[in-house]
Structure formats: structure tokens, C-alpha cells
């Protein structure tokens, strides 16, 4: 039985360093190649030695697919391709291809230049790695090789995020990457065909959450920001440069406009403007409303939001600052946090998920004393707020996607084990499909039962379809008979037996049987034959029954002759001859008009011999 194997090297019962190996139909595919924000040691990257202990990965992988530009999905890419060694194709969408190298470079700078790590990938490696990237268009089937094909679908999560359908023969797997089933202020909702994959590998960040309406969350967010500003506090919103940042900027921009607010909003780092440029140039990946109006008003040109300078953090008075990175694990957001943490008037709003080990995660869990580098501690007095703005599907969304794609099996990654367990139960209950949640390095094997594609001769197919009458009822199954020719296990052809003989250059071998049956019948030979003929005609409706002048009756390949016995003219000898393939035998015998002589029971005899 064919099977599909799935092994997470990262993101198995965890969030971070997404990297999933899939073996399907003899092909090995790596899905995502991320880094873990919670670690600074070897655990930062997936353990590629699982694939091979030494040597390059090229021989072991048919392709690598990156779902989106977040570093927990692509952060290990240059390490994997340039340092471990992989020269095969890397697929990602155009926006991911554009943005990914910038974030990688940013990551490299923080790690090498600021933290002084060595043995890390270089700028050149990022460039070399990006040269191996083949861009993917949405809904376009890409043939990786003769057997393996992939197709990308819109995932909504961030600009350019994609889900991917991987297909070999009639087996297939869908990997969602991170996705969002509800459209937001700048992106649309994820969507996929009813493609019925053998396995749907889904993220499950919010496996147990069912979020209240978007509108409520937005109102809450604006209220909190507004209150803080009103009492003269400073608001820090740690974000990643692309994604939530743009959505929240659009939100605040419109709010500021409406409320005529004057407090400054800043956006940290030079990435801002650049990031917004990406949104402008890839506007086709944003939601419908933005796409429709971009000629008149580009939503990514902000009036109220200005570039941040480090010195502004000490300015008096209220302000709102968007700073990177989003989990407070390094960089500018952490610096500002340290400055503002001591004042209870200030506020930090965490708009997204925080990985274990990051400061973001710690303060969200209520920790009020933080150990910093050099044994210093930091007292957290400012208000800490969490607002789920990260664009992941919640439990409802995941169930919705299952309904859309109708997978045969479900596999959860990119979530916490406890939460997964809960969702797994729900999925198995509601959809009656198996749901798996392998840990890192653990292999899930799913047996598939693919149907075998065969080429059927159109003649045979049409003949069978025509048998159902002039207008065959498409719902009613029909029986068909044919011969399957298999050549070298690669070509499968289903043809009629006659055509099979012809195709294979074989001659037909006729097998015939003849027997004599004695009957008591006082009529003349000709009369007896005629009686048989008329009787058969009345019984075998719809069959061609011929009475030939030479004294034979023919039904299909059955030939009947009658002659009188030499001793007794009342005893007739019936000569029956038929071929091996004759179909009407039963009916024919049912139709025989006369009783056979005791002892020789031809009816019984013939029935038994043929059926």
C-alpha cells in the first residue's frame, strides 16, 4: 500500500522554526525552513542532520516550498541552502521572494553585528540562496518534475502568504503555512478548492481560541490607545515590519483622521517606507477594497504616521510608536520597552502571538520582574495589553478550512501540544477523520489508497455507455467488461477483448463444444426443428434467432441440428454445438420445448458444464 510520511523538524507541537518533511509518491518535499525566536543556540534552526548526517541535502529533497516571509518560516533558509548545502528548487510567491531577503538580512545584522555571533550566514549567502528561488503565481500549477506538481492558494496571513497543494499521481497533501480565514483591513481571506487531499497539514496557533468579532477587537484596541494618550502616556506596539503593522497603521490612521487627534504616531526603522512600497507594488495581493481604490487613494500612503528616530523615545508627552520586532526579543522594540517599562502611565500592546522564551511571552504571562543581560533586573510597571491581531485562523477558521478542502486525514503543526490535543478531539468528532499531531522528529505515516489511472479505449467506453439505452442514466452504474493491458508497469490500457488481441498481435483461439442429446418426439425432423425455432423465438426476445434453409437453427454461436435416430424415428438426435464464450446459454436451455430422455438429462448437463 502506498503511504505518505510527514515528519516535522520544527513546529511539531511547537511554534517556531517551521520545517516539515513530506514523503509522497517517492518524492521528498520540505515545507518551510524557519528559525525559532525563543532560542539562541543550535535549537534555533531545524535539525537537518535528521535528513543526512553528512553531505548536502540536494540528493535527498526534490523541492523546498516557503509559505511566507515570516522568519519562523524562512529564517533558516540561507543556513540550509548555503551552509548545509541544497541546490534544488526553492519555491515561494513573488512578494515572499521580494521581502524574505530583507528580513533575513535584518536577522543576520541583529545576530552578527549586534550580538557578535560568528559562524552565521553572510549577506552573500542570502543572495546566493535567493538565486535558487523560483517564483510561484497563485493558482498556477507548477510542474516540479514529471510527477510532482504544486499549486499555490491565497492564505491571507501576510502579504504573499500562500497555502500549497502538493500532488503526485492521485495522492496529495495540502500545507497551509499560516493562514487567516477572515479578511482584515488590508488582506483577503484564505481560500482553497475542494481538492480532497490525503492529508491537510494545518497550523493551529489558535487551536482553542474562538475570537470575538474583528470589529470588537478593533474598538478595544482604539479605546486603549486613546485612553492612554488622553492621560499623557506613551504607547508601544511591538510589531514585525510587514503584516500586522500595516493593518494597525491603517486602523490608527483612519481613527486619528476621524477624531482629529494630534499626538504623534511613529513607525520605527527605515523598513517602514520600504515596507509600504512593497504593499503598493504588490497591491494585487491585498484585499478587494484596497485594490479597487488604489488609483484614487493608496491606503499605504499615511498622513499621520511618521518615521521614528531613537531620540524621540525620550520626548515628553504622549505618543504611539510601532517598533520592531514583534516579540520584544531584540532590537528597537526592546530598547524602547526598557525605557518606558518603569512608568505605569505607559502601555505596551502586544498585537500578536509571542513565542516561549521571548520577553513578550514573559510579560504576557504576568511576569513583572525581568532578568536582563548582565544580571540587571527590570521592573515592569507599565500596562501590558494583549490584543490578538495576528492573522491566524482560530478554531472556527480551521474547521472552516477542513470543510473547504475535505481532507482524508488531518495533521496539526505550529501550535502548543495541549491546545492541539483539544482541537484534534474536536476534528475527529466532527469530521470522523484521523487527526495527527507529531512532535519534532516524529514521523506520521498515512496509508493512502489511490485509484489507478488507466486509459480506456473510447470505443469500449462508448459501447458500455450506450448499453444503458439511448440516454443512459448517469447515476445508474453500468457493468463493463474489458481487458487491461499492462506494459512494463507504466502504461495501462483498458480495451475490449477483441482490441486487446489486435493490440498484442495475438490470434484468437476458438474453443467449441458439440454434444448429442436424444429426445422423444414423434414429428418429422424438420417439424421438430421448427418447433424448437418458434419456441426459442417466443422465449428469447431481443436475440437474433436464425432458421437457415440447410436445416440449422442458430442463436448467437449456438448451432442446433436435428436428425432421427437410425433405430427409432420417434427418437430424435439433437446436435448442439456452441462456443466457449456463448452468453445466452441459460435462456436458451430454459426455452427448450421438450423433455429429454431419462438418464441423459442434457439441460442439467449443459447448465452444469457452463456455469
Amino acid at each position: 500500500m502506498p503511504e505518505i510520511k510527514v515528519t516535522p523538524l520544527g513546529a511539531g507541537q511547537d511554534v517556531g522554526r517551521s520545517c516539515i518533511l513530506v514523503s509522497i509518491g517517492g518524492k521528498n518535499i520540505m515545507l518551510d525552513c524557519g528559525m525559532h525566536m525563543g532560542y539562541n543556540d543550535d535549537r534555533r534552526f531545524p535539525d537537518f542532520s535528521y535528513i543526512t548526517q553528512n553531505g548536502r541535502l540536494t540528493d535527498f529533497l526534490d523541492c523546498l516550498i516557503i509559505s511566507h516571509f515570516h522568519l519562523d518560516h524562512c529564517g533558516a533558509l540561507p543556513y540550509m541552502s548555503e551552509m548545509v548545502g541544497y541546490d534544488g528548487p526553492i519555491y515561494m510567491t513573488h512578494p515572499t521572494k521580494a521581502i524574505c531577503p530583507i528580513l533575513l538580512e535584518d536577522f543576520r545584522k541583529i545576530t552578527v553585528d549586534k550580538k557578535g555571533e560568528t559562524n552565521f550566514f553572510t549577506s552573500q549567502m542570502i543572495k546566493d540562496c535567493m538565486k535558487k528561488v523560483i517564483p510561484l503565481n497563485l493558482h498556477q500549477t507548477v510542474q516540479v518534475d514529471d510527477e510532482l506538481e504544486i499549486k499555490a492558494y491565497y492564505a491571507g496571513h501576510v502579504l504573499g502568504a500562500a497555502m500549497v497543494h502538493i500532488k503526485v499521481g492521485s495522492e496529495s497533501v495540502v500545507y497551509t503555512g499560516d493562514y487567516n480565514m477572515t479578511p482584515d483591513r488590508h488582506l483577503g481571506a484564505a481560500w482553497i478548492d475542494k481538492c480532497r487531499p490525503d492529508i491537510l497539514i494545518s497550523e493551529s496557533t489558535y487551536a482553542t481560541t474562538i475570537r470575538d468579532s474583528k470589529r470588537c477587537r478593533e474598538r478595544d484596541f482604539l479605546k486603549k490607545v486613546h485612553e492612554s494618550i488622553e492621560r499623557g502616556g506613551k504607547v508601544l506596539i511591538p510589531v514585525f515590519a510587514l503584516g500586522r503593522a500595516q493593518e494597525l497603521c491603517i486602523l490608527l490612521e483612519t481613527f486619528w483622521e476621524r477624531m482629529n487627534l494630534k499626538a504623534p504616531i511613529y513607525f520605527s526603522t527605515g523598513l517602514t517606507e520600504k515596507a509600504n512600497h512593497y504593499y503598493k507594488l504588490f497591491i494585487t495581493w491585498t484585499n478587494q477594497k484596497i485594490r479597487k481604490t488604489f488609483v484614487q487613494r493608496n491606503m499605504f500612503e499615511f498622513k499621520h504616521i511618521k518615521a521614528f528616530d531613537r531620540s524621540y523615545a525620550d520626548n515628553p508627552g504622549p505618543m504611539v510608536v510601532f517598533a520592531t520586532p514583534g516579540m520584544l526579543h531584540a532590537g528597537q522594540s526592546l530598547q524602547i520597552f526598557k525605557k518606558w517599562a518603569g512608568n505605569e502611565k505607559n502601555m505596551v500592546i502586544m498585537p500578536g502571538y509571542c513565542v516561549q522564551g521571548t520577553i513578550g511571552h514573559k510579560i504576557l504571562n504576568g511576569q513583572r520582574k525581568l532578568e536582563m543581560e548582565g544580571r540587571a533586573t527590570l521592573d515592569v510597571k507599565l500596562q501590558v495589553e494583549y490584543m490578538s491581531f495576528s492573522a491566524h485562523a482560530d478554531a472556527k477558521g480551521i474547521m472552516q478550512l477542513i470543510r473547504m478542502a475535505e481532507p482524508r486525514n488531518m495533521l496539526l503543526v505550529h501550535g502548543e501540544a495541549v491546545k492541539m490535543e483539544f482541537l484534534k478531539g474536536k476534528i475527529e468528532q466532527e469530521f470522523s477523520i484521523d487527526c495527527y499531531m507529531p512532535a519534532n522528529g516524529e514521523t506520521t505515516t498515512v496509508t493512502t489508497n489511490p485509484s489507478v489511472p488507466v486509459d480506456i479505449s473510447l470505443n469500449l467506453l462508448k459501447r458500455e455507455m450506450a448499453l444503458g439505452g439511448p440516454l443512459p442514466d448517469p447515476k445508474k452504474p453500468r457493468t463493463m467488461h474489458g481487458t487491461l493491458i499492462m506494459k512494463e508497469n507504466v502504461s495501462f490500457m483498458l480495451v475490449s477483448s477483441e482490441q486487446a488481441l489486435k493490440e498484442l498481435g495475438l490470434n484468437e483461439h476458438q474453443l467449441r463444444f458439440t454434444c448429442h442429446v436424444q429426445l422423444q418426439d414423434p414429428h418429422s425432423d424438420a417439424d421438430t426443428l421448427h418447433r424448437i425455432y418458434t419456441h426459442l423465438k417466443s422465449v428469447l426476445k431481443g436475440y437474433t434467432i436464425q432458421h437457415l434453409p440447410d436445416g440449422t437453427v442458430i442463436v448467437e454461436s449456438i448451432v442446433i441440428k436435428v436428425s432421427s435416430s437410425a433405430e427409432d424415428s420417434n427418437t430424435k438426435v439433437l446436435l448442439l454445438s456452441w462456443s466457449y464464450q456463448v452468453k445466452t446459454w441459460t435462456l436458451f436451455l430454459e426455452g427448450l420445448p421438450m423433455q429429454s430422455k431419462p438418464g441423459s438429462s442434457p439441460n442439467h448437463l449443459v447448465i452444469e458444464s457452463l456455469f
Binding site: H94, L281, F282, I283, V295, T479, L504, H509, C515
Partner: protein, 629 residues
């Protein structure tokens, strides 16, 4: 498989393909060359045009002076221009399932099909084709409605277009139609988002090639290799200027432009609002400084000028590699963004409004429509036509420039003809066909003979073996391929139950008796369920009521029964008294104790036996020697 040809214009095609159970329209071009027979529609009253004499036949018997006007020896219709629509009587257009659009120039007749025929299908076009095509339609409607004529002769109405868009238009992607055929767009390299289409099932492949280019301009390069292994290749949209080299024309365009400006004249470029204009602007961007034109204003006037320029910047997926790389930086892929930023290029929706106050001469104006019959270009013809300092440079190949200029004669302004048509020329297309090797080629009849004006140029036609099948307007072609196979899926349970036997090395056969399910043009085979056991008393009756079609028929037999081996087998089964008699075709075996004859021949075996158990035994013994198919 049939092809219905609804348009005779080779670059504005409209064909309908019937393939398997689907009806697919390929492009929906609107032939606008007919507008050349009409008088221009001026934006402001033109005393010259209104004073043109009416036409009266020489003997004075026919007087149509209200409708026909004469100008410089030619007669024009004084009415709203009419277009030549695709043929609508050749087949019932409401039966069309889908319309595939290859580029934004080939979709202008869509409203006529989608709104007036009971069409209920879907139109597929790539995202850029869809967006820019929509803009070009709006522009055309705007040109017409701005200057209503009393005598109306067109069914182009704004409302219709509004209703048509965006309803059935879908983003083109690899699509399965009714489970029967797969359609997928391939980049064709001609314009932003332009595509050729592959229409295929598991066993048949039709390629539709329309408006393709191998030149490196702004669009994504043409995908040639995917066209390989086509059974039929439908070829339309070759260059209309087979003798003009686009690069040379571009050079001429620049030098004429510079010369006119230096001499203090204005340059008028009648053009479409999307397409070659992007390349012209890019060329000028590089040329302006070196030609010392830094202070010359460039104007682009069209109701969709702004949208066209903006949209051109957002389709990175559909651009050539260099432009894609710019987007990754991120920078706008086209340099006209910079021309606009530095105020060198200005765009206006029309000559009215801001333009009239900001307009400075000498200048360069890009505006439509290239037929010179409507749009803002008419105004500039009236304004600049009288001065020999000015130049009009034709770059669009769709209209004969002499015909376009006819109603403006006599004309003092200079005329330069630099048609830029990047579509495939005959040399390129024969090379392409040699590479992709389609079994059959279908093309407009114009491509099977040299152009009328250059009848000696046998290099300006398609010469293929086998010769291409030509079509003209209203042709119905039977496409020459027979479908022989169809894809069917054998469900795993049935597949496991099959018993293959090897006939020759590497070739096995298995007889299959199965239930055939056909749904959405997808066929599957599954095992025949075992009939439920029937009460014995009723058994006989049942058999008669339901003819035993569900039972597997006996297979065909092949091979031969070898005499010696067969005799040995008989002996093993206790049949020892066998008399063998040689005949012309084989042997007759007389089983003396059993009073049975077996006739063994190369292609047949005949068992004459009255005892049923023995016959069964003999049959099974014979079958051991034969292959079942």
C-alpha cells in the same frame, strides 16, 4: 471536434472550439477598421468638417448628402462610427460555456456576446488583461459618449458594459471545465498579462496561440516549451507589419520626435492607452537627456491615462525579469513613475479642464484613438494639421495611416509612419512551429498566401508540412483528430482483485469486469458487488427476469494447444487410450474409451463429447494451454 470561425480579422480573432462536451470561445475581438469609413468625431465644433460637401452620384440620381460627405476625393459616412462584430449566426452563442481571452486588445466585443445572446458562461482572462481590458472598454465608451451624434448606429452603450463587468469575468488560472478539459494560460510575451491557452484532456491537447512576441519588451517572456506535443495548434495574431523591424522603428520614432521639437514643432502620437506606449515612454526616459529634450513637456491624454500608468506598476508577476527585479528592491518597474515625479510627463483625462491651462508648446502628445476618428486626437489633428512644423508619428499597426489621415486632407503637418508590432513574424513562427511540432496547424487564410501588396514575397506566408488548415470568417472546420482514449480510474479494491498474467516479457493482461460510474465527465471502475443470495425457489425466475449482463462473460482465448503436452496432461488425468490422427490443419484425438473427439488446430479446439463431467474436465485441461484476454 469543430472550430467555428466568427471573425475574419487575423489579429482580432473570435473562434469557437467544440471539444469533448465543452464549447469554448477563443478571444472576442472587435474589428474597428470599419471606423475608417466614417468622419472623425471632433470634440469641439469643426467648421472644416461641417462644411464638407455632401456626396451626390455623378448623374445626380442618388443623393445621400446628409449621410455621406466627400473629402479630398473620398467619401465618408457622417454618423456614429460602427464596428464589425463577430459573426452571430454561425452557431447558438448561448451554448458557449467559457470564453478565454488572450490579451486586452482581443476582448472588445465581449459585451455583444455576453449581453445579447443569452450567454450564461464565464469569461476567463488573466488579472492584468481583465483590468486593462476593462479600462480600454471604458475609454472607448467614453470617446463615443462624449460626442453624441444624431445618427447613431452602434449598440455600444455604457450600461451594457457596466453590467458585463465584473460579473462573469474571472481571473485566469489553471481551470478544469466540467471535469472534461483543463484550460491553462501561458505567458505569450506580447502585452501585460497576455497569454496563450492550452486546452487539454488526458489524451488531447489544443494550443491556442494568439498575439505572441519573442522580443524582450516589458511583458513576461513567451512560454514556448509548454506548447509542445499539441495535436492542434490554432495560430492567430501574427505581426501586421512583417517587414518593419520594431527596434528600427523605435529609433526612427525618437529621431523624428527630436527633430520636430528642435525645429519648434509639436509631435502627435496617436496610440492606445496601454501597450507600446509603456515602451515608448521608457525609450524616451533614456533618450530625453541625451537628446536635450529635458524641458519639453510630454502629455498623455486619455480618460484612463492615470489608471493605465498606475496599473502598469502593480503586475510584477507578469513582467519581464528585469522589471521584476526592480519590484523586489522595491522600486516601480516602469520608469514613467519617475517621469511623472519629475514633472516631465503629465497626464490628463481630456483636453478640457486642467490641460487647457497648463498646456505649453512645443510638446509631445500621446493620445487616442489611433484610428483618428474619435478621442482627443481629433482635436490635435484639427489644431496642428495646418502647420508643416508639426509631425504626427504613427506607431500603432492596426490602421493604415493613409486611410487614417484621409478625412484631414489636405494636410500640411509631416507624417511619419513607424509601426511597432512586436508580434511574431513569419520567420519566428516557422522556427517556433519547428520546435514545438504540432500535428496540425489552423490559421487565418491570410497567413497561407503572401500579402496582396507583396505577392512576390513568398517568405511572408506560412509554409508547413502538412499544410496549415486555413479559415476565414464563417468557416466551420472539422479538426482532424480522432479521440481514441479516455482517462478512467480503477478503484483500489478492484485493482487489488485483478489477476494479471504475463503474455510477453513486460506485457501482462488481466480481464476486468466492473461497474462503471460516470459523473462530471469523470469515470471510475469499481468491483461488481456480489449479488445477494436469492431464495432457491425463485432462482429460475429471477435469472430470466434479469439477463445476466452482470456476470462476467467468458474471456477471449488466444494461443495454441501443443499436442505432446496435451497428451501428457490427458494421461495424467487417466485418459490413456488416445488415437491421434493427423489432418491438414492439425490433429484429431479420439478418446476411445470415452467415445469423445478432440479436434486440435492452430487457431481452434473442438470438443465433441456427450458426457457433461468429462467435457468440463477436458475444457479445463484445454484452457490451461490458452491465454485469456
Amino acid at each position: 471536434m469543430k472550430l467555428y470561425c466568427l471573425s475574419g480579422h487575423p489579429t482580432l480573432p473570435c473562434n469557437v472550439l467544440k471539444f469533448k462536451s465543452t464549447t469554448i470561445m477563443l478571444d472576442c475581438g472587435l474589428d474597428t477598421t470599419s471606423v475608417l469609413n466614417f468622419l472623425p468625431l471632433p470634440l469641439v465644433h469643426s467648421p472644416r468638417l461641417s462644411k464638407l460637401p455632401g456626396w451626390v452620384s455623378k448623374d445626380g440620381t442618388i443623393n445621400l448628402e446628409k449621410e455621406l460627405k466627400e473629402c479630398a476625393g473620398r467619401v465618408f459616412v457622417d454618423a456614429q462610427p460602427e464596428f464589425c462584430l463577430p459573426e452571430r449566426e454561425l452557431l447558438d452563442l448561448s451554448t458557449i460555456d467559457v470564453i478565454l481571452i488572450s490579451n486586452y486588445h482581443c476582448m472588445m466585443a465581449l459585451p455583444y456576446i455576453t449581453e445579447h445572446t443569452g450567454f450564461t458562461g464565464t469569461v476567463y482572462a488573466t488579472e492584468p488583461t481583465l483590468q486593462i481590458g476593462r479600462l480600454l472598454m471604458e475609454e472607448l465608451v467614453n470617446f463615443m459618449e462624449r460626442v453624441p451624434k444624431a445618427q447613431s448606429a452602434t449598440s455600444w452603450k455604457n450600461k451594457e458594459i457596466q453590467r458585463m463587468l465584473p460579473g462573469p469575468l474571472k481571473d485566469a488560472v489553471d481551470k478544469e471545465l466540467f471535469g472534461a478539459v483543463q484550460v491553462s494560460p501561458l505567458s505569450s510575451g506580447y502585452s501585460l498579462g497576455s497569454s496563450n491557452w492550452i486546452i487539454q484532456s488526458h489524451h488531447e491537447k489544443v494550443s491556442y496561440v494568439s498575439g505572441s512576441s519573442l522580443l524582450t519588451t516589458h511583458p513576461q517572456p513567451m512560454d514556448q516549451s509548454s506548447l509542445k506535443n499539441s495535436d492542434v495548434l490554432i495560430l492567430t495574431g501574427l505581426t501586421q507589419m512583417p517587414t518593419a523591424n520594431p527596434d528600427g522603428m523605435l529609433g526612427e520614432f525618437c529621431s523624428n520626435l527630436a527633430m520636430t521639437i528642435r525645429a519648434g514643432g509639436n509631435v502627435l502620437v496617436p496610440c492606445y492607452s496601454s501597450g507600446v506606449i509603456y515602451d515608448l515612454l521608457e525609450c524616451l526616459y533614456q533618450f530625453i537627456e541625451s537628446a536635450n529634450l529635458g524641458t519639453t513637456p510630454f502629455y498623455f491624454i486619455s480618460p484612463i491615462a492615470n489608471s493605465s500608468l498606475e496599473f502598469s506598476q502593480i503586475f510584477a508577476e507578469w513582467l519581464c525579469h528585469n522589471k521584476q527585479t526592480k519590484v523586489y528592491l522595491p522600486e516601480p518597474p516602469f520608469p514613467h513613475a519617475e517621469l511623472i515625479q519629475t514633472n516631465k510627463l503629465k497626464h490628463y483625462p481630456s483636453i478640457h479642464g486642467d490641460f487647457s491651462s497648463e498646456f505649453r508648446q512645443p510638446c509631445v502628445v500621446f493620445t487616442g484613438h489611433p484610428s483618428l476618428r474619435f478621442g482627443d486626437v481629433v482635436h490635435f489633428m484639427e489644431l496642428w494639421g495646418k502647420s508643416s512644423l508639426n509631425t504626427i508619428i504613427f506607431t500603432e499597426p492596426d490602421f493604415s495611416y493613409l486611410d487614417a489621415l484621409a478625412p484631414y486632407q489636405p494636410l500640411a503637418m509631416k507624417c511619419v509612419y513607424c509601426p511597432i508590432d512586436t508580434r511574431l513574424n513569419f520567420h519566428q513562427v516557422s522556427k517556433l512551429l519547428k520546435e514545438v511540432q504540432p500535428l496540425h496547424v489552423v490559421c487565418p487564410e491570410q497567413y497561407t498566401q503572401p500579402p496582396l501588396t507583396q505577392s512576390h514575397r513568398s517568405d511572408l506566408m506560412l509554409e508547413l508540412q502538412p499544410p496549415p488548415m486555413p479559415y476565414r470568417r464563417c468557416s466551420v472546420l472539422n479538426l482532424p483528430f480522432r479521440r481514441r482514449y479516455e482517462r478512467i480510474y480503477i478503484l483500489p479494491e478492484l485493482a487489488n482483485s485483478l489477476v494479471p498474467s504475463e503474455i510477453k516479457p513486460g506485457v501482462s493482461v488481466a480481464t476486468v469486469s466492473a461497474l462503471l460510474h460516470s459523473k462530471d465527465n469523470k469515470h471510475t471502475l469499481q468491483s461488481v458487488p456480489k449479488p445477494p443470495p436469492m431464495p432457491p425457489s425463485k432462482k429460475r425466475k429471477r435469472v430470466i427476469e434479469e439477463p445476466p449482463v452482470a456476470l462476467a462473460p467468458k474471456p477471449m482465448l488466444s494461443g495454441a494447444v501443443a499436442l505432446e503436452a496435451f497428451l501428457a496432461t490427458l494421461q495424467k488425468h487417466g485418459i490413456t487410450e488416445v488415437k491421434v490422427e493427423e489432418t491438414a490443419d492439425g490433429h484429431i484425438l479420439h478418446l476411445q474409451a470415452e467415445d469423445t473427439l478432440i479436434q486440435l488446430e492452430e487457431d481452434g479446439t473442438h470438443i465433441v463429447c456427450d458426457s457433461e463431467p468429462l467435457r468440463t474436465t477436458l475444457r479445463d485441461l484445454v484452457l490451461r494451454f490458452l491465454q485469456k484476454l
